[in-house]
């Protein structure tokens, strides 16, 4: 008897490119005790070796683009040995990573790690609640962009466009400054800031959090909001945490189909639901696929969705490259294909499978992208704590879109870039969605 396991399985296995993909390996909450000089040197050198070895053994390109990695070690390791502080060693480690000329490789101070993690739950199930607001890093601030219906925030009349100034009495600005410094110039900056703020809003269901908002009024608004649990289905896969899934399908008027997906999980519901949606709304002029804030998940779902949007054989969204090989994300045209225009909405929190799907559909000339640059975190990266306390962030796979564009560390550029203004948000507008609708309704 023969038993095969399909490509579908493999995809989900090989690319559980999950949720935002920065899996932090529980950095310590406190700074390690100040070591003696010799101990410091030992820790710094061990950190150097850890970084150097990880790149050597796990980077997707074993040749490192022709870089003589042994020479880099010979040159820089002695400098780490002479470093008189963790900060001095960090400078050298960063210089080493800079030789790769690739983003998504970084050394983060311990304080930045703490700033990023906040109260982020390991798991969303059970008692984890939030206050019902979606936050984006916009115009240099932590801005509310959405308020969940029925949440404490809605009851308190929090509106999009408000800026979070402090959480439980702690100003948000210093945290943003730290993360901004660490991710300056990185496509991941909006993702990291938004997540850091969101992490502080989590807490046990029923607990309360004090928030100070800039509500565009004379004085900041102080609110104490109770955390509750979103009334949506949750899903998980393996070690991934359970996450709430917002999967919404509806018509915008008679002629536009709208599908929003908050995370690529629960394929039986999501892919089947997508198939039903495009079947029910096949008479529409166009489809809007809203992937804003979607951190990724099972890449197989991106392939599944893509299979309903194009009917040419052997078309791939792109190629994942790891040390052990390449995998083409080939779409399987399904019996029912949606023929109308396709607009994909993206933003700085669209990561992983969201980027893979958006870039792939655009490269296959099947979709037009609206919104903001994506996170450039197409595949899992890790943040690992080094012996000297710093964090080491690295990606162990690369991803090339159908057109051969590298997504990792670069992100996906929208065809129509739109950054919502505070005024628009406060007026209840969604200019990204509006632009997509207008494009679909346009004759050309």
């Amino acid at each position: 008897m023969k038993y095969r396991v399909s490509s579908a399985l493999c995809l989900c296995l090989a690319t559980v490119a999950c949720g935002g993909s920065t899996a932090s390996k529980a950095p310590a909450k406190t700074t390690p005790p100040a070591p003696k000089y010799s101990e410091l040197t030992k820790r710094n050198l061990a950190s150097f070796d850890k970084v150097w070895t990880t790149i050597r053994d796990r980077h997707w390109d074993p040749k490192l683009g022709g870089l003589d990695w042994n020479a880099v070690r010979a040159e820089l390791r002695p400098r780490v040995g002479r470093a008189k502080s963790v900060a001095e060693a960090r400078v050298v480690l960063r210089e080493m990573l800079a030789r790769l000329k690739q983003s998504h490789f970084g050394i983060l101070p311990l304080s930045t790690l703490d700033a990023i993690r906040g109260n982020a739950p390991k798991n969303h199930h059970g008692g984890v609640g939030d206050v019902g607001i979606t936050v984006r890093y916009l115009h240099g601030a932590a801005m509310v962009t959405r308020v969940r219906a029925g949440s404490a925030a809605q009851t308190a009349k929090v509106t999009p466009g408000w800026i979070i100034l402090a959480i439980d009495g702690k100003p948000v600005a210093p945290m943003i400054q730290k993360i901004t410094a660490a991710y300056k110039g990185s496509t991941m900056l909006p993702l990291m800031v938004s997540r850091a703020v969101a992490a502080r809003l989590y807490g046990p269901v029923g607990s309360k959090v004090k928030l100070r908002f800039d509500a565009a009024t004379a004085k900041p608004r102080e609110l104490e909001l109770a955390r509750d649990k979103p009334n949506v289905p949750y899903a998980s896969f393996g070690h991934l945490p359970k996450m709430p899934i917002r999967f919404e399908t509806r018509r915008l008027g008679k002629d536009v189909a709208y599908v929003a997906l908050s995370v690529f999980l629960d394929p039986p519901r999501v892919v089947k639901g997508f198939a039903k949606a495009i079947t029910d709304m096949r008479d529409t002029k166009g489809l809007i696929l809203d992937l804003r804030g979607n951190p990724g998940g099972l890449a197989g779902i991106a392939i599944g969705i893509g299979g309903y949007l194009q009917d040419k054989p052997n078309q791939a969204l792109g190629t994942m490259i790891t040390r052990v090989g390449k995998l083409r994300f080939v779409l399987n045209p399904q019996p029912t294909i949606y023929k109308g225009k396709v607009a994909v909405l993206i933003d700085g929190l669209s990561a992983s499978s969201s980027e893979i799907l958006a870039a792939g559909l655009r490269d296959l000339e099947r979709a037009r992208l609206f919104g903001r640059f994506t996170a450039g975190a197409s595949l899992p990266s890790e943040i690992e704590r080094l012996p000297n306390g710093d964090g080491f962030q690295y990606a162990f796979a690369n991803y090339l879109s159908a057109a051969g564009e590298r997504l990792e560390g670069r992100g996906v550029a929208p065809d129509v870039e739109i950054v919502p203004s505070r005024k628009q948000l406060m007026a209840g507008k969604d200019p990204v969605l509006d632009a997509a609708v207008a494009w679909i309704r346009a004759k050309q």
């Binding site: 008897m1 490509s7 296995l13 394929p267 892919v271 299979g307 045209p333």
Partner: protein, 269 residues
């Protein structure tokens, strides 16, 4: 004997054995760190045919195989690195029909099957597809019941490449080549004659995929011994398939192997 093989990613590697149409090669095998000198291995009198005959004998004998005409098996599949466990059902009917269903928790269901002509796959994630080319070839070979007895019909050649150590024990190394030229390397323990390892690189829809499978925990079911545990390594990940129930000569409804409507729709397109 029946061998249950797990192919991850691919319609990989054929089950059963290969037709030794060519003389057994006795030259050096592919490089392997644990290789034993070829000359110290297979006695000159042994050929690939001999080894495969010994394998059939060791797993129950031709007569035992020929008493079987269908099989229904259940298994669990664990992916330790992902923390995922799935349940597998497998159906096979002589001469060449098969159906497999894997329920993988919240990732949904994956099905594969063939009616002996069309090889298809359907998953909750990636949708439905009909396999073609080399993938189809492997799917059809894999569905052949009692393939162990039919390797000469299924393969272009089987070559004995020598003896190599598998986990420290010497094993005959045989290379099976399909009509289209795809190869699989299998290792049969020199003492027990049981299949202990296989490896292959196959061209899949997604690209070339290499995998290695280890077979262990052989148990007899209706007179035929089969490995109840298979560990597959591919793409730096391991999957462990463990059989939990095997029944033979079960009446399987023909509808089990019929093409699903959406597969038929694809074919009609």
């Amino acid at each position: 004997m029946k061998r249950v093989s797990l192919f991850v990613f691919v319609a990989a590697v054929a089950v059963g054995c290969g037709g030794a149409k060519k003389p057994a090669a006795r030259g050096p095998s592919a490089a392997a760190d644990d290789r034993i000198a070829t000359d110290s291995g297979a006695p000159s009198s042994l050929t690939a045919d001999d080894i495969l005959a010994l394998y059939v004998e060791a797993t129950g004998g031709r007569a035992a195989y020929e008493k079987l005409s269908s099989r229904v098996a259940k298994a669990t599949m664990v992916l330790p690195s992902l923390g995922v466990k799935g349940d597998v059902e497998m159906y096979q009917q002589a001469p060449n029909k098969s159906y497999m269903k894997l329920v993988l928790g919240q990732a949904g269901t994956v099905e594969q099957g063939t009616d002996g002509t069309v090889v298809w796959e359907r998953s909750a994630m990636t949708g439905v597809r009909v396999l073609s080319g080399q993938e189809r070839e492997l799917g059809l070979i894999g569905a052949v019941f009692n393939a162990e007895l039919k390797y000469k019909e299924l393969y272009k050649s089987v070559q004995l490449m020598g003896i190599e150590a598998v986990d420290g024990a010497p094993a005959y190394k045989l290379v099976f080549t399909t009509p289209s030229g795809q190869t699989e390397t299998r290792y049969y323990d020199k003492d027990t004659k049981l299949l202990v390892k296989s490896s292959a690189t196959v061209q899949h829809q997604m690209g070339k995929i290499s995998s290695t499978t280890r077979y262990s925990d052989y148990r007899a079911v209706d007179g035929v011994r089969m490995p109840f545990k298979m560990e597959v390594s591919a793409m730096n990940q391991k999957r462990v398939l463990t059989l939990t129930d095997v029944k033979h000569n079960v009446a399987i409804p023909a509808s089990r192997f019929a093409l699903p409507p959406d597969v038929q729709k694809l074919l009609d397109k």
